[in-house]
Amino acid sequence: MKNHNHLKHLPRVAILMGMLTLAGCVIEPPTTLYTGYPSRSKIPLKVALNITDELCESKDTSKTIAIGAAVASNACVLARSTFTDVMEITNGKPVPSMVDAILTTKVAYFNRTTGASASGEFIIAIKLEWTLSKPDGNIIWVDTISAQGSGSGHTSPNGMLQNALFLELSKSQSTMYSSRAIRQFTKRKYPDVAIADPPLPIGVITDPKVMKLCAALGSSDRGKVQNALTSLRKPEYSAAVPEILPLLLNADDHVIRDACRTLAVIANKDVIPYIEPLLKDKRSAVRKDAQKAIDKLRAKL
């Protein structure tokens, strides 16, 4: 009878062990900073980057993943790649007299889902709200940028988080740099300073089909990412461009090459600075596809 009881509990034990395997790991934000921003002329503004305690203490909804410090340190790199002069302040103080604007970010949403099993889909999603305001508090521009990483229970959650955060930062910088509201403010502030034309406006993704494909771009499964990139290779899907750009920094050369091919079809010349660093890649196939993409994009002028 004892043996019988052991067997009776075996399935439960197996399921419990599986759940512990899935839930037991600690997720850490990346310690490396995202530096994949394209090199291009910066917006000529003197900006105070406001790092708040609220940001530094930000965690996911279950209060287990501390993301705030990683966002704060990355915000410095992002701001410096976007504006000509950046200084840091804490909790809005002190506001230096010579700054034109104050840039503040907060974690609007940070959460993760768990799959029903090890092979199910696990998602890490993040939304950052960026606000650029005048020293008197009047808001110049605000936007909330979303990104997510996904994988299975076998995928490194740290890798998923890094994918999500790096995608978030790339999209945030792209959106900030392209903002008409920020550029109009800059022109009013410095009418005599030449400001490079902003990239052409990027549409918001409103098509649910495109949303679904873009969500797959954050997957840790190379096959899923490649399939999504192929499906997005239609000119009418140009709103997906910001979602694809971070893939140019992917470790997998197949993903990079497919990203180049898709950008060549759906993007415009503004993405060339993102692709150009690949011309120096040590992998010849990557260099070749990058060159092809740049040639196609230049031909669109």
């Binding site: 043996n3 067997l7 075996l10 998602i123 606000t131 918001v204």
Partner: protein, 222 residues
């Protein structure tokens, strides 16, 4: 002999269950997928829409159970949450507009107050839509809708916040969409006249323009 036979039988009967458990662990078919959002129509396609200075905003309260379950995988009305779909489009050739989440709120049309939250915002007669979520949020949605932390619940929670409206600046040609969540008492069916107000700022002129919409929830079905 009898005991031995019973043991074998018991072991054999457990094998399918064990196999099923292992299959469930090994396959991802049981994971709930995040539902797609509603396809955003041009704002003027919604019954409730307004155009002021080339900015058009449309809103639509979601009050039918099948529709809500389609987009949220759970009937939010049972928890007193009415999702309101908001779509905005900027057709101005040069101006940008800020629609901050904290400047989109819902008022009870009869009293000028919401009847939902027992906090200081209620005393002011205004409940900011974002604050409604804060009350429910930070993991609290699961408790609010009576779900335990399972895989499905985590997807439902993520979907709820993922589809929410967040602060945006609409550049020329820009569009945005998302849900505002109105929290009503759980005890009674959602009903009454409400007013959704969005205060929109033109970044060129700093002028703030209110967009007002009447919301009639009397036709709500739970």
């Amino acid at each position: 002999m009898n005991h031995s036979y019973n043991r074998s039988l018991a072991g054999a009967s457990q094998l399918p269950i064990l196999a099923l458990g292992l299959i469930l662990l090994a396959t991802g078919c049981a994971t709930m997928h995040e539902p797609l959002p509603p396809e955003a129509q041009p704002p003027e396609n919604y019954a409730q829409h307004k155009e002021i200075g080339n900015l058009t905003i449309g809103v639509q309260p979601m009050t039918q159970k099948p529709e809500i379950e389609k987009f949220f995988n759970v009937n939010l009305l049972e928890s007193g949450i009415v999702p309101i779909w908001l779509v905005a489009e900027n057709r101005d050739p040069s101006a940008s507009f800020i629609i901050a989440k904290e400047n989109v709120f819902v008022l009870n049309d009869a009293t000028g107050e919401t009847n939902t939250l027992g906090n200081k915002q209620m005393a002011t007669g205004k409940v900011v839509a974002g604050a409604v979520i804060t009350v429910i949020g930070a993991g609290g949605l699961l408790e609010f809708v009576g779900l335990k932390l399972t895989s499905d619940a985590s997807v439902i929670q993520h979907n709820f916040y993922d589809k929410e409206y967040y602060s945006t600046t609409l550049d020329p040609g820009g569009k945005t969409q998302g849900f505002i969540y109105l929290q009503l008492p759980k005890s009674a069916p959602p009903s009454g006249l409400y007013r959704l107000e969005a205060k929109v700022k033109n970044t060129s002129t700093d002028e703030v323009t209110p967009f007002d919409f009447e919301l009639n929830l009397n036709a709500t079905t739970r």
